[in-house]
């Protein structure tokens, strides 16, 4: 008999904020690739992935479920649907002669959506950045801190953020968000 294997999220069963102003919820499983290289990687990746890695600091680009987030001048996070086929293989051959590093980190971190008119205020409870839309506009993406946890922060809409949290930090981050939301009422 084949044993049944069930994939569960580390966030299953953990309370997350759900108030009138803001709600947070786990995002679906996704494919995540960490890409490093010079700007020479941009064009081959655009062709093979459908989204060009942005060269603008703290920039992002997306199309459908796929996105490329700037992490540093030679580093990007590529997000794609969970069942992306042989995306590693496709990108590796597209990048054939270009010096690069490409690592599958799909299971390393989890995505959490933070949505609602109170989204920026909720994050501001633990994030040291100025999250006013003038200082951190729609489309901006960066690594930063949420209290003691490193997170990836991407503002998709004025009142919608995606955060990427290292798997082992997810219970801590969920707890921090939930406590902050209760404080803020």
């Amino acid at each position: 008999m084949t044993p049944e294997v069930v994939r569960r999220s580390v966030l299953d069963g953990r309370p997350l904020p759900a108030t009138g102003r803001v709600k947070a919820y786990p995002l679906p499983f996704a494919t995540r690739l960490n890409l490093r290289g010079s700007p020479d990687v941009v064009e081959p990746v655009r062709k093979a992935f459908g989204v060009a890695p942005p060269t603008q600091p703290m920039g992002s680009a997306s199309a459908g479920e796929r996105a490329a987030l700037w992490l540093g001048p030679d580093e990007w996070l590529l997000l794609a649907e969970e069942n992306a086929g042989d995306l590693m293989g496709t990108l590796t051959s597209a990048l054939g002669g270009v010096f690069h590093s490409l690592v599958d980190i799909s299971h390393r971190q989890v995505g959490i959506a933070i949505e609602g008119p109170g989204a920026a205020r909720l994050l501001a409870a633990g994030c040291p950045l100025d999250l006013d839309a003038r200082a951190f506009p729609v489309g901006m993406s960066t690594r930063t801190l949420l209290v003691k946890a490193e997170i990836g922060l991407w503002r998709r809409e004025e009142n919608f953020f995606r955060i990427e949290v290292l798997r082992s930090f997810a219970p801590y981050v969920a707890r921090i968000l939930d406590l902050a939301a209760r404080d803020q009422g």
Binding site: P57, G72, L145
Partner: protein
């Protein structure tokens, strides 16, 4: 908290995202160095009162090392610049 301009993010970012990395512009040349120069490189650093060129890393941001000209008396940062760029003339 200090706000530090990261030359790679091109933005002022909060101090908690950074790590201090010691004196900048040290040249490591073990093949050419005399014993005395090598000892200097390994063990001795300036103890500047005033403007000090030092390495910082935007650890919880872009992850890059860069250089910073900071006044060790006032803690005021005069300039930050990318790794590999020369120390700016003192303002």
């Amino acid at each position: 908290m200090l706000l530090i301009h990261c030359p790679y993010c091109e933005m002022e970012r909060p101090e908690v995202e950074f790590k201090y990395g010691g004196q900048a512009h040290l040249v490591r040349e073990p093949q050419k160095a005399t014993d005395e120069e090598w000892t200097d490189f390994l063990y001795f650093r300036d103890n500047t009162r005033g403007l000090h060129a030092e390495r910082w890393r935007h650890a919880v941001g872009c992850g890059r090392f860069f250089n910073c000209l900071r006044d060790t008396v006032s803690d005021k940062i005069a300039a930050t610049y990318k790794a590999g760029e020369p120390r700016p003339s003192s303002p």
